[in-house]
Every structure is written in C-alpha cells, then in structure tokens.
C-alpha cells in the first residue's frame, strides 16, 4: 500500500474556496439540530462535550452544596425533658424524599448525595472534562490538522458518553446509589438488592469507560499521524503532550475498570462469588482492580490540566516555557509511574510488604510533578505577564494544586496514612487536586479558549471577580477540612461528634462562596454569548497553530494547511500571527541569539 494518490492530493489539497465558521447555521433549527447530532466535526463534538460536562459539573455541584448544608447541623434525636422525642438540626433530606421522622433514612439520603456527587464528578464530569471538550476542539487545531484521526469514532464516543450518562442519571432519578464512587464490595454487591438503580449506576461507569477508551485511542493516532508538515515531536505544544500521555493512560487503564465493573455486575446479578467473602471470594481483589484503574485515572484528570496550564502560562507571560523537554517527558513519566502506585489507597487492607512497596513508588510519582511545578514557576521569571482571567486561574492552579499535591505526601507515607486514610484530610487532598487543580485549570482554559471557540470576548471584570469568589471560597471550604481530618473526622459521615461542628460550619459557608463564584462565571459566559464583542483571531498573542485559524475557526479549521516554521513558544523571536509588533514587541534579536 504505497501508492500516493496525486490526483487526490490535487483535489483535496488546498481548500482555497471560502468557508464559513463552523458555527454557521444551516438555515433552520431542525437542520441545525440534525447537523449537530450527526456531525463528525471535532469542533462541534468538542462543544457538545463542553456543555454536557458543564451540565454534569452543575449537577455534581448542586449535590455538593446540598451535602454541605446537611453537614451544617446534622439532624439528631432530641429527647425532651418530658421524655418525648423530636428531631433537631437542619434536616434537608426530606426534600429528596426521606422520611423526616427517620434518622436512618436521613443518613441513607446523605449517603446517596455524596455518592451521586462522587460518581457525577469523577465519571461524568472530570474524566471527560478537559480532554473530551477542549482536547477534541483543540488537538487537531494545535496539530494543524483538519480533524481527529477517526471522526466517526469520535461521534460514537460522544454517543457512548451520552448513553452512559443516561444510565447514571436514570439511576439518580430513581433514587440513586449509596455505595460511594468506589463501589467497594461486599457492600456494593449487597446493598439495595432488589432495586436496579445500583446496577444501572455501575453500568453507567462501565459504558462511560468505553467512551473514554475510544477518545483516547483516537487522540493517540491523531498525534502520531496528523501533525502538520514540519512539526516534529518536540515542536508539539505541551497541551498535545499532555493529551497524548492522558490518552495512553486511558487506553491502558480503562479496560481494567471495564472488566472489574463487569465482574461486579455479574457478581451482583448472578452471585458468582468472586468478590463475596461469604462464598469464598475476596473483597480486597475488587479493591486492587478498582484502584489499578482509579489511581491512573486521577492523572487522566490532572495531566490535561497541566497541559492547558503550560499553554496559558507561556502565552500570558509571553515567555518561552522553561524546560520544555522536562515538562514533556515528565508527562510521560507520570503516565508510566501512575500504573504502579494504586496500592496507596489500600494501606489499611493490605499486607506489609505490598504496603511498603506501594508507599515507596508513591513518592516516585511526586517527582515528575514537582519538576513541572518548578518549571512553571521559572517560566514567570523575566516574562511580560498579563494579569487577566486565564492568568489568574493559572496562578490559582499553581497555588491550589501545590497544596493538593503536597498533602499527597503524608498520605503516601505509611505511618501517617494509617491515621489520615478515609478521613476529611483525604477529602481535602483530593478536592485540592481535582477541584483546585483540574477544575480551576479547566475554567481558566475555558476563558483562554473562549474567544477562539465562540468568536466572542467575555467581560474581564466579571470573570475576575468570580475568580476571586471561587478561589477564596475554595480555600475556606477545603482548607478547614485538613484540620477536620487530622483531628479525627472520618469521611462519608452523615453526622459527627460535637467537637467537629465549628470547622464543618466554616466549610459549608465557604461552599456558598464557591457556588456564587460559579454563578458569576455562568452569567459571564451567557452574557458573552449574547452581547460579547467580537473576538479577533489571536486576542492573547499565542504562537501555536490554533491562533492562526479564525475565531471561530472555519469548517475545516484552516484556509490552507498550516506549515510549522517556529516552535510553539518562541515568544522572544516571533510576532504572533494576526498581531501587530506594536502590541507584542520583540526584544533585541542579537541578545536572544546570544542567550539561546
């Protein structure tokens, strides 16, 4: 198969005829709906993902706010002086259908709340978030390609994602599950035995896995085969490296959760006894399987975030990224090591030898991450730093993610983890990395790429004000939880001893600030879509290929196939496309030549 079809090249090579923006309407609403629902355009699929995951984030966030309100003053039994009983406290679960007189039901509904929150936030929101939305939209643009490698497969992934979400939402609609997002056996195989909703939720996670695998596969092939002429591996933007590393993890780890959840389903339905201790099975085997996927998956969540951070940081600081290769390789390093540390979630249920091994490996995974952080900070040195929303979010990410990552260290050390495991310390840790890391980077990146995606600018003041609300609210909510954890507050508790109440209350107030902040963002975005000023093709002065395209890009991304003539971060040598040297002045080129 070596013939090169030159005829074809002539026919398809240059798209010189003028095309409209990918957002151009097809004339009627029906035509538009049909067009979007059957599109194989990566940009449209990316945008659909964006709205879907933001909707999931909203649902998960509402569940979070609700469970935080329950923790403000958990309902308790009150025995009055005359011996009669009443329920005190803030009992919100009746709003969900619980019996207000029955505290066991209150607890059940609380458990369903945090399970819904966890499942939505991880499987339906965070795993697909950056890669499926921004990755889909920008990967081909960053590579100078017209689309991803397998556009129809991409559409299939999207529909699988929808199907999985429907399984999940159906389960939630009919009451939800009380297993936590980890589905530990034997609890998950026995709880709520008569009802199908637990099955449906496990099914959801199972189906969503396929979507994740196919997207990852698609991206890997895209990176290998669709780079623009002149783009070597080390000319790729770091976001591409990050998506590439992410995809590798998705492809290699997700099948394992697939078979695990399949076994769990079989176990629940057919009672084969592999995980059921009553029949000779082994519940710890389930934990191994689960974390073999779910540890790598936390890097699926963070790596794309690190990718967009690298992009935003260098663009808004107008600085060549410091240590490009170190950052690129550390992405791959993280991906590789991430497969060897899953046991650190199970120190309290595994043998000494295994625990020791996993503890040692856990510290190993912190090293490539530390390297990245150092490089990011060094990138700021002698930059030309614009303080705008994407930059604020980038700095916010560095602040919050560092705290989140560093608190991973006492969790990785054996002795301290035995105290902190399954406490609010862990809750705080993973919110600092998942929310403070990934979500913050995601929201920043949405601002960064908003003009490109929708062709409109957003309001800086509103966006920055919302950032500060989110940032401050976040710290109030979750920093307190470190103290809760070290002082002995276990997680997944619907109530608690009095001594923890003050800190819980502070945490709940903080969560309201976060909610307000995101509401601000929501309004900013809606306003921008409706009345925002038109965006220029390159508002920030970026050098990567997506900024050569129009805002929003045309149907096939570029008018001509772009050719790569400079590195993605040569800010000290190149005037950005569509920009004026007046706005983005270059330093003395002799000096640049001397320094490099």
């Amino acid at each position: 198969m070596t013939t090169i079809d030159s005829q074809h090249d002539l026919a398809h090579g240059g798209h010189d005829h003028h095309e409209g923006s990918y957002l151009t309407s097809r004339g009627s609403i029906i035509a538009d709906i049909v067009n979007w629902a059957t599109t194989v355009d990566h940009k449209k699929i990316g945008v659909m993902y964006l709205f879907a995951v933001l909707f999931m984030f909203f649902l998960g966030g509402v569940a979070a706010l609700a469970l935080r309100i329950e923790l403000l003053d958990p309902p308790r039994l009150q025995v009055l002086a005359d011996g009669t009983q009443a329920i005190t406290g803030l009992n919100i679960t009746p709003a969900l259908g619980a019996d207000p007189e029955d505290l066991a039901q209150n607890n059940l509904y609380y458990n369903r709340l945090f399970s819904a929150h966890g499942v939505i936030m991880t499987f339906m929101f965070l795993v697909p978030s950056i890669p499926a939305s921004l990755g889909n939209f920008f990967l081909p643009l960053l590579l100078g390609a017209k689309d991803v490698a397998f556009p129809r497969l991409n559409l299939l992934s999207w529909y699988i994602y929808i199907a999985g979400s429907i399984f999940g939402l159906a389960s939630l609609l009919f009451g939800g599950v009380d297993t936590g997002w980890t589905f530990y056996t034997p609890y998950s195989t026995t709880t709520d035995a008569e009802h199908w909703r637990t099955l449906s939720m496990i099914m959801a996670a199972f189906v969503l896995g396929f979507s994740s695998i196919l997207t990852g596969l698609n991206f890997i092939v895209t990176v290998h085969k669709l780079r623009a002429p002149g783009m070597g591996w080390f000319d790729m933007p770091l976001f591409v490296w990050a998506v590439y590393a992410t995809s590798i993890i998705q492809v290699l780890a997700t099948p394992v959760i697939g078979v695990t959840l399949l076994l769990l389903l079989i176990e629940r339905v057919l009672k084969v006894g592999i995980f059921d201790p009553g029949m000779g099975g082994d519940p710890v085997l389930y934990q191994h399987f689960f974390w073999f996927y779910s540890h790598p998956v936390v890097y699926v969540m963070i790596l794309p975030a690190m990718g967009v951070i690298s992009e935003m940081l260098s663009v808004h600081a107008r600085k060549p990224i410091f240590g490009y290769r170190a950052i690129a390789f550390s992405s791959i390093g993280i991906a590789a090591v991430s497969f060897m540390v899953w046991g650190h979630h199970m120190f309290t249920s595994m043998g000494e030898l295994a625990a020791t091994l996993f503890s040692a490996l856990t510290f190993l995974v912190a090293i490539p991450t530390a390297i990245k952080v150092f490089n990011w900070i060094a990138t700021l040195y002698k930059g030309s730093i614009a303080i705008n929303t994407p930059m604020l979010y980038t700095l916010g990410f560095l602040f919050l993610f560092s705290i989140g990552g560093l608190t991973g260290l006492p969790l990785g050390a054996l002795a301290t983890d035995l105290h902190l495991h399954d406490s609010y310390f862990v809750v705080a840790h993973f919110h600092y990395v998942m929310m403070g890391g990934t979500v913050i980077a995601f929201v920043g990146a949405i601002h960064h790429y908003w003009p490109k995606m929708f062709g409109r600018m957003y309001d800086e003041r509103w966006a920055q004000a919302s950032f500060w609300l989110v940032f401050i609210g976040f710290n109030v909510t979750f920093f307190t939880q470190f103290f809760l954890g070290t002082q002995g507050m276990p997680r997944r508790y619907a109530g608690y001893a009095d001594e923890f109440q003050l800190l819980h209350q502070i945490s709940t107030y903080g969560s309201w600030l976060i909610g307000l902040g995101f509401l601000g963002h929501l309004l900013t975005f809606v306003t921008s879509l409706v009345v925002g000023p038109k965006a220029p093709p390159n508002p920030w002065g970026g050098l990567t290929l997506e900024w050569e395209a129009e805002s929003p890009p045309v149907e096939h991304n570029f008018h001509q196939e772009p050719v790569v003539r400079h590195g993605p971060y040569d800010f000290d040598r190149v005037v950005p496309p569509h920009c004026d040297e007046k706005d983005f002045p270059l330093p003395d080129q002799d000096e640049v030549a001397r320094v490099h």
């Binding site: 013939t3 090169i4 398809h12 669709l226 394992v256 697939g258 006894g273």
Partner: protein
C-alpha cells in the same frame, strides 16, 4: 477448498463510486498511506485494550487458583480436553484463513477473499456449536454452575462454584468476542461481495483480521489455563 485462479476473475467493470478502485481516502488525511497506517495503529491500540481486559480475567483466575488450588484442579478435571483441543484447532484454522483473506484482498483475488471469509465464519459457527452442545449445556444441566447457582452433588471441594464462576466468565467473555469478531467478518464479507475491497482499500479486512487473531490468541491462553493445568 477449490483453488481459485486470480487470472480467471473477470475484468472488472467500469469503476463505479462504490468499488475499491475508486476509493478516496478521508478528506482530513494527507494521503491514503497515512490513513491506512492510522487504521492499523488504531486497531493495535484497541487490541491492547482487549488484552488488558482479559488480563483482568486472568488475574482473577490466578488469585482464585492460589486461594483454592484444589477446587481448580478438580474443576479442570471436569473439562473435556478433547473438545477444548478441537476448538483450538478450529480457531487456529480460522486464523489462518483470515490471514489468507487479507492477502487475497491485497492481490485483488476477490473469490479467494470471499471463500476464506466464509470458511472463517464457518469456523466461528463450529466453535460456538461445540462450546454450546458439548460444554455449556451438559455442564449447566449437571449443576456445574457458577456461584450461587452451583448444584452439582458430587463436588469434591467446597469451592468448586468459584472455579465454575471463573470458567463461565472467562469463556463467556471470550465467546462474546468471537461473536463480535464474527459480526465484523460478516460485514466484511458482505462488502467484499460488493467489491469494496482490493489493493487500494483493504484496511477494514486487515483490521478485522487483526481482531480475529486476538480472539484466537486469547483462546490459546485460555485453553491451557482451563483445560490443561492440573
């Protein structure tokens, strides 16, 4: 199988939009080579996910075997090596013919391609038939069932239900893959009949073939694990 002379193939009619001669690669590819390589790379990646999926099954097997060696030794004693071996040969033969089919597509031997595909599908049917008639149905009716369903009265070991659980899960997931593979090959067969595959376009034949090899490969591992190791 009758030998088919490629020369005997009638000269193809004027290329219509549907046939392989007029195949045009997807517009987002720079050339057909890239597209073909991408399809293969994609399939290899997908196969690696399948391998990992089965790795999960194999690990469960290993762990449970470690816990209950007696149950597994007894359990595999109930299996009939004869049928396992037959099925192994059936799949091996089908792997061979599917590889031949790819070759035939490359060389534009349409009848060879079709004949090989049909033979492969027949093998799939045979595999299923043997599995069902000589293994699943008799075992299930004797009470050799997984987990809670287990009701075989002459069990030697109290944990034989675990063995049967692993047995049915492993062979069941594999059988599902045989089914999917057969579906893919049927699709390829139909399209071969329409003349869609030839030297310029045979990526689909090749990738489905790769998938079929995987199905075979997994069985090559399952067979000794389940039938042979005592």
């Amino acid at each position: 199988m009758t030998t088919i002379d490629p020369q005997a193939e009638p000269a193809l009619a004027k290329p219509k939009g549907m046939r392989w001669e007029s195949y045009v690669h997807g517009h987002h590819w720079r050339n057909a080579d890239d597209e073909f390589d991408a399809a293969k790379l994609g399939m290899w990646l997908f196969l690696s996910t399948e391998v990992l999926l089965f790795a999960g099954v194999f690990v469960s097997y290993a762990i449970m075997r470690m816990k209950y060696p007696e149950a597994f030794i007894n359990g595999s004693g109930y299996l009939d090596v004869k049928w396992g071996l037959t099925n192994t040969f059936v799949l091996l033969a089908s792997s061979f013919t599917v590889a031949w089919a790819v070759r035939a597509a490359q060389l534009n031997q349409r009848k060879v391609l079709i004949a090989n595909l049909i033979f492969t599908l027949l093998c799939a049917v045979a595999f299923f038939g043997i599995k069902l008639i000589f293994e699943y149905i008799p075992k299930w009716s004797e009470g050799k069932r997984p987990g809670e369903w287990f009701s075989y009265p002459y069990a030697h070991d109290p944990h034989e239900h675990i063995w049967w659980g692993i047995y049915y899960i492993a062979t069941g997931i594999h059988a599902l893959h045989v089914l999917i593979g057969a579906g893919l090959l049927t699709w390829v067969l139909v399209r071969s009949g329409m003349g869609k595959y030839g030297p310029k376009n045979y990526a689909m034949v090749e990738t489905s073939g790769l998938y079929w090899h995987l199905v075979d490969l997994v069985w090559i591992f399952l067979f000794p694990l389940l039938y042979l190791i005592h």
